[in-house]
């Protein structure tokens, strides 16, 4: 794969990223995960990370979100059109938080439930922290949850007691409610039924249509076929193969 040093139009440029885990509790055992990871993502594409499980797809997603540290390399994020890219890999916590607030959204595999907060507020929260009026944020949250067929009776309940599929729909709504230019999706449809899967496919297409760049992991073949515009095979970056 040949990549230019810096691609002007890319919203996300990953360069020479390597990641390993050092397990101090096991006498400093080093577990290499990936190395020489490099790719670009452009507005309006849905790039799918592919490869067998355990190869480091989720780790790459987490590094791009700043949730995992990188050993070396850079992760250049362009905050907006025409703006200088910022290196999330070498940036401090505040840069990561700033990019998460305005640029990079993330839908994880599991909802990390906050005790006692109603589903509607869990979904509305990203908007509220961006300064949207709470009532308006709730309206938009309710709209998304309706679209994902979450029973209205659940809106006012905390998601901790919801089923896996219900939790995941709350999680998706929370991730999709903002207009981040980059969206990271880690198997968002894993525990959904066919009808809701189709809703999510529709939502992803709308995001792409409005120029959002999506980087995702989809084990679900029909979803992948429906939304992917490009695949990146992660096996090529695996550090364990070389090890």
């Amino acid at each position: 794969m040949v990549l230019q040093e810096k691609n002007k139009d890319a919203v996300l440029s990953v360069r020479n990223v390597a990641k390993s885990f050092t397990m101090h509790l096991r006498d400093g055992l080093v577990l290499p995960v990936v190395e020489n990871v490099a790719f670009d993502i452009f507005p309006g594409e849905c790039v799918v990370l592919a490869g067998p499980s355990g190869v480091g797809k989720s780790s790459i997603l987490r590094m791009v979100y700043g949730n995992y540290a990188v050993d070396r390399g850079s992760i250049l994020v362009r905050p907006g059109a025409g703006e200088e890219p910022r290196d999330l890999a070498s940036g401090d916590a505040r840069l990561v938080l700033e990019l998460r607030r305005g640029v990079i959204g993330y839908v994880s595999q599991f909802l990390r439930a906050v005790p006692r907060v109603a589903a509607l507020d869990v979904v509305a929260e990203p908007l509220v922290t961006r300064g949207v009026d709470r009532a308006e944020a709730r309206d938009r949250a309710a709209h998304l949850l309706h679209r994902l067929h979450l029973p209205e009776a659940l809106f006012s309940l905390p998601p901790a007691t919801f089923s896996g599929g219900e939790k995941q729909r709350v999680n998706i709504a929370r991730g999709f409610i903002t207009d981040h230019p980059i969206l990271l999706l880690d198997e968002p449809t894993a525990s959904l039924d066919a009808a809701n899967r189709d809703v999510v496919i529709g939502m992803i297409r709308e995001k792409l249509g409005s120029g959002v760049a999506i980087l995702g992991i989809f084990h679900d073949q029909p979803v992948r076929d429906a939304v992917a515009t490009r695949m990146i095979d992660i096996s090529g970056f695996s550090a364990r193969r070389a090890a």
Binding site: T22, G66, N67, A69, A93, V128
Partner: protein, 257 residues
């Protein structure tokens, strides 16, 4: 926005030859929650007491951004200025509510005291504000004339929070705010704190040994061991990808939920 509200450099506190904390440097920005975690004796409470002006430091600097944008070392302030800061611009939430409340004074007066301390002299307004704050911390305004001795642990802690926030401070110190509470009560207090911190864009330095509390409330985390910072960074990164041996041990010690 781009200037820290609190800046700590090379802070050290010794108890004779014993080190309470040393070589501690960090910044806190407005609207940010920073958690200090570590086991008992790691120096986290010593650190909190030093930066909140409750304990004298041995060396190092602690600067605070005043409302007029001055950035003095706390040691440069007169005692009057320091105490004024403590009851207006700062808050301190103790683990034990009895330390932070007047147990034999009504809930309304507990909340109203800071208002009266800054010159409010209208009983009706004080009472109205106190009543609003009781509701905000989910205490029925009917209880406004009851003394905290008649309150449950969770209510006392929520009252302590209201008492601290009534003057709209900018920086709050918290020492294990949910430490003495039952798990179900803890969740309510945490949820309340989380909402208030966001709504009021408070800067918070919170000491806790509970990593779940740190994850729920803080954006950044400082891990301490033997009086020193061993690891610091984004809270979810430090907890999901801990690099220091001690942090890995801490994280590995949490039972899976």
């Amino acid at each position: 926005m781009s200037d820290p509200i609190l800046s700590v450099r090379d802070l050290e506190r010794r108890y004779a030859s014993f080190i309470g904390c040393t070589k501690v440097s960090f910044d806190v920005w407005p609207g940010e929650v920073v958690a200090i975690v570590g086991e008992s004796g790691s120096g986290k409470t010593t650190l909190l007491n030093c930066i909140s002006g409750r304990l004298e430091r041995s060396s190092g600097s602690i600067r605070y951004r005043m409302r007029d944008n001055r950035f003095p070392d706390l040691a440069e302030l007169s005692e009057a200025e320091r105490r004024f800061l403590m009851r207006t611009d700062w808050g301190f939430v103790h683990q034990s509510p009895a330390e932070g409340l007047r147990m034999r004074v009504s809930a309304g007066a507990n909340v109203g005291e800071r208002l009266m301390a800054v010159g409010e002299r209208h009983y009706g307004r004080i009472r109205e504000t106190a009543s609003e704050w009781l509701q905000r911390v989910e205490i029925s305004p009917d209880r406004i004339d009851d003394q905290p001795v008649a309150f449950s642990g969770g209510m006392r802690q929520r009252l302590q929070i209201a008492r601290n926030l009534v003057t709209h401070p900018r920086l709050i110190f918290m020492d294990e705010p949910t430490g003495g509470l039952d798990v179900s009560v803890q969740a309510k207090v945490l949820d309340l704190l989380r909402g208030l911190v966001t709504d009021m864009s408070l800067a918070v330095v919170i000491v806790t040994h509970d990593l779940a509390v740190a994850r729920l409330l803080s954006q950044r985390i400082i891990v301490m061991k033997n009086g020193r910072i061993v690891e610091t960074g984004l809270t979810d990164r430090v907890l999901d990808d801990p690099r220091h041996a001690y942090t890995q041990l801490l994280v590995a010690s949490i039972p899976e939920s």
